[in-house]
Symmetry: C2
Subunit: 342 residues, 2 copies
């Protein structure tokens, strides 16, 4: 198996990327193709000892910035590490692409250069989030901000397959993120989507209130890309601010400092449980290739975990599983309506 | 000043409502009109000693359930405590209405029976949320799930006035909740709204990423009602699940239990800071009357705090301040476009 890694993607590239790759080479039986500015990659690799025969370097001289619009890899920077990396998946011998770079650019490049899986209209990014029970898979967390009910339905199918194949959850439940439990809640979009999911998706448990999500209300939870992005950003921001708040308040009181020291192991365990980068990256589903998105701020461990999750996707041939389950009509409004009338 | 309180609203009504009202009578120099099933109200009041001359009981024999659709107070249950309570504001001697009942029903009843303030097209619910810095005001957190850019702009004006008059924040900043900082981020709706706010709102600081919200990126943050509702529900759910998780993990380790005991005072302080019911209720802005919504799960203290915030609104004559600042054309797409071309 050979995983293509975007050496230039993310805030701490290429240093963190290459450090993560070296860790991955140590833990997993894979080969790596590093795409990016050759000189910088080599300079970084020199710091480590690893089996050179397992690493290929592919030069790409353009870099996509975080502020670049999503279409940059298609119009301007066709020789960026993202564009070159994605396109490699069309050749033999390259099994997946991992990038901590500009998410929009990765999504656009994957959509255009790899194309969509048959039956999937729009890609969706999924993310495994820890819950009180264990974890849930939220999809779409940002690929498609102009989603239609059919897209949400297709996300549901892909999410169920992902959880079953990669996360080994048998017969996952699916819920629709909504602002209330009753089927009448939400805007017209949610009501229509609810109807469609009810008629099309196995194990659909109905609406999941955003407040119930973190208690583990459903294995897989679907939503449009904008809402999903808000959910993960609010969560990350709130946890971060709460952590900062706890630190600030604890420092004010010597007894509390002592208490925190005694709780250190427990707090570390909780922090680890709550850190979604522990669970891997954010898979981009629906495109005809295995693409894994890692957070822009990914440290070496996050990169390594993203690679681990990617390996699982390849091993389980996720896209073949998605293709066999998604039939184009299964999520059309017509069939949805017919199914719910059965 | 006489505050009308919905005795039947909320999960713990009338017990929690009346307990909170009695606390309010003790702390604030106001009179109360309790609306609801007279017998049940009297039965509950008997448990307390208070100045009976300060409490009026107004009988309303219908109860709005949490699952009732929003329009119930207009079509079916016209004699519910919500409908009766809201309508009282049109008479002399009743200054504000507080309810922990069905939010949609309160919004609908207020909109229909009180009408909108001139220049405001749609009502919006605001909520003060604690941040790492201090607090921010998020609006709209659920009144209008089909918002147009003009509505967001009107929310911005109302939010600024609310923070200035009631929360005594001089010259509050306003940000637009978005999934990225750049003006190009978000769907078409966000881009259009960004342009409009930039041209119309004083102290507009641009986009506020959901992750930056809790660090205190802006005093007032505006969004559509659906997104806002997701934000507050995700926050509440995440905090609750995190608290449950911490308890569960601490119990596993005796040292951690000891540590938690030493940190008890600090943890209590943090919990209090993070509890948004400490800051009052959620004001419904834009209607021609002072209406305060309290969370369905409100305990007596939350009811009392909601009443406290309501008193401030009445004292500062918030609606007069809003009326004088909101001019209908100020938030129209035309004027917004013209302003941004200056």
């Amino acid at each position: 198996m050979k995983i293509v890694v975007d050496a230039m993607g993310g805030d701490h590239a290429p240093e963190a990327v290459i450090a993560g790759v070296v860790e991955a080479l140590d833990e997993f039986d894979i080969n790596i193709a590093l795409v990016g500015i050759e000189d910088r990659i080599k300079e970084e690799l020199q710091k480590y000892s690893y089996d050179k025969s397992r690493v290929e370097i592919i030069h790409a001289d353009e870099i996509v910035d975080m502020q670049d619009p999503a279409t940059v890899t298609i119009r301007k920077k066709k020789n960026s590490s993202i564009a070159v990396g994605v396109k490699l998946l069309k050749e033999n011998g390259y099994d997946a692409f991992v990038s901590a770079g500009n998410t929009g650019a990765v999504v656009a490049a994957s959509t255009i250069y790899l194309g969509m899986l048959e039956g999937v209209e729009r890609p969706a990014i999924g993310l495994t989030l820890p819950t009180y029970k264990s974890f849930s898979f939220l999809i779409d967390v940002g690929a498609n901000t102009a989603a239609k009910p059919e897209h949400i339905c297709q996300s549901a199918i892909m999410g169920r397959v992902y959880m079953r194949e990669v996360m080994e959850v048998s017969d996952p439940t699916v819920g629709l993120l909504n602002i209330g439990e009753e089927a009448t809640k939400g805007s017209n979009f949610e009501k229509e989507t609810h109807k469609l999911l009810k008629g099309s998706i196995k194990n659909f448990v109905g609406n999941v209130e955003a407040s119930a999500f973190f208690k583990g209300a459903s294995d897989c939870v679907v939503c449009d890309g904008y809402t999903g992005n808000v959910v993960i950003k609010v969560s990350a921001g709130l946890l971060e601010a709460t952590g900062m708040l706890i630190k600030r308040e604890v420092k004010k009181n010597p007894l509390a400092v002592l208490g925190a020291l005694l709780m250190k192991k427990t707090l570390k365990h909780i922090k680890k449980h709550s850190d979604y980068s522990e669970y891997g990256g954010a898979p981009l589903l629906g495109v005809d290739g295995v693409v894994m998105i890692s957070h822009g701020r990914s440290n070496p461990k996050a990169i390594k975990n993203a690679i681990r999750a990617t390996i699982k996707e390849v091993e389980h041939d996720l896209n073949a599983a998605i293709k066999s389950e998604i039939k184009k009509e299964a999520c059309s409004s017509e069939l949805g309506a017919r199914s719910s009338q059965k």
